[in-house]
Amino acid sequence: MTEFPFESEERRALRSAVAALGKRYGSAYMQGKGRAGEDSNELWLEAGKLGYLGVSLPEQYGGGGGGIADLVIVQEELGAAGCPLLLLVVTPAICGSIIARFGTQAQKQRFLPGFADGTERMAFGITEPDAGSNSHAITTTARRDGADWILKGRKVFISGVDNCATTMIVSRTEDARTGKLKPALFIVPREAPGFEYRAIPMELISPDRQFELYLDDVRLPADALVGDEDAGIAQVFAGLNPERIMVAALANGIARHALDKAVAYARERTVFRGPIGSHQGIAHPLAQAKIEVELARLMTQKAALLNDAGDDLGAGEAANMAKYAAAEAVTHAVDQAVQTLGGNGLTQEYGLAALINFARVTRVAPVSREMILNFVAQHTLGLPKSY
């Protein structure tokens, strides 16, 4: 059988190695931890030790020297095993990509080796109560005080803050020349005075929780600023493509997981004559879901390859399309999987009902499906902007 070019021999080996690790943990582990309000650090640390978390980070800083394409494989296979790691999207993909490209030498040395081996985690906060889809509206600001920075503002829905020693906060500073506000990124320690975080009760069964952050005049040293003050906007963009690609990979993994369970069940379960999988009412929607997932995977792989080749613009369009397609595919796949299992689809034992809301998140975050449709309408199709 000829392999699709994305699947190099090394990527296939990575796939099967991560799949084997994921299988040992599985969805019962992940959902059990989520229900108990516990973390999934064991899996995180083991994956880190094996170099799976750091595949995309530079070798020089302890990473694997691969790309987001390799990290996509890690996320997809963990997802397919039922134990995706939400913070893979955040720490190595967003924060890791930004620091590797724009961080100071000292920041790279300080953070990347820990990102790579799993011993250091960083959350990422951009969303605010009045700035979700409209991220231009963020009001968290940083002002200078001598050599220090003073950070003030609020963030919402920030994932994993309790498990991360630091959070990368997107804020705004005043441009010294024009007086206009421009984005600047800061690395804020969880224990910094004035930094408070509160868990938001979410209807999600996941070890990774979301937090509301209050930054009340948090004093930060000069080196908390990521890279150069003038590169803020480029830095944010460097994180966005990996973020979308990794959410797509997470969605694709969960979709595969749900479909695998549904197909196995449809082969065995007999209600009238023959297994229910022989009824087209069950078989066709599963086949449809399979096609959607495969198309989403393909676009995810394209986006990852463009990203790794340094084509940020091309990757941007593909990453948005991949995220959109993957979110739709996983929502349909999980829904159909639940339907296929009948009552069992809604039990804890089969682990599918827990995926309904989780899959649904990918339609909203990190960028909603409507905002992607806006993007494609304007940038790809050249239609006029409505807002």
Binding site: A17, G64, D70
Partner: protein, 259 residues
Amino acid sequence: MKIVVLVKQVPDTAADKRLDPDTLAVDRGAVDGLINEMDEFAVEEALQLVEKHGGEVTVVSMGPDDATDAYKKALQMGADKAVFLSDPALAGSDALATSEALAKVLGTLEYDLVILGSEASDARTSLVPALLAERLGLPQLTFASKVEVDGSAIRVNRLTDYGHDVVEAALPAVVSVVEKINEPRYPSFKGIMAAKKKPVEALDLAGLGLDAGSVGWAGSRSKVLDATVAPPRAKGTIVTDEGNGGSELVGFLASKKFV
């Protein structure tokens, strides 16, 4: 110390296996091949011994020319190099012929210890370790659930029905391991990336100096005459407890001569 690990590529145990109706051998083209699971334990044990005592691990595999996944997996796990013996004339080799070819390969290598799995999951003869030890004229330690090396001596816990025996031998020796012995590592990303740069020596019969007549269909003394597909498992018996469940269960067990 220098350790040689023998690894076999087998059809995925999870897949439906078919026999080729002409040769009555497993149709290997029809399913994905991968390393015999027990051989991962052999590789792991070798890696742990070398981590402790220093040295290097060479993997040896014999199989069809596309059966490269098994030794590659061993290299990804951390073995240093591989020898891959492949030749169309090897097809059809029985356990005796397989052991002859593998013994010949070992003759070209330097080693203090040879480690194998106790059984390959496809043919499951469990003969290769013993045949190989005999051909090499080396002591054989089987069913090892623990291995310790001390200078030129080796001591293993040999798993038995009642517990384990402790057996010792002088190196070089041949050891076959059971799954209890360790927990095989997953290949790390670095291991995966490093594997493609590791040396692999490809051998065929001519290169090995082995006569094609002594291996393969021609050289194998055992022949498969007939094969029948196993009948599907019969439906189990469900005992509903209506007060007499206990005695029904015992009756069932007695009818099967379990009690």
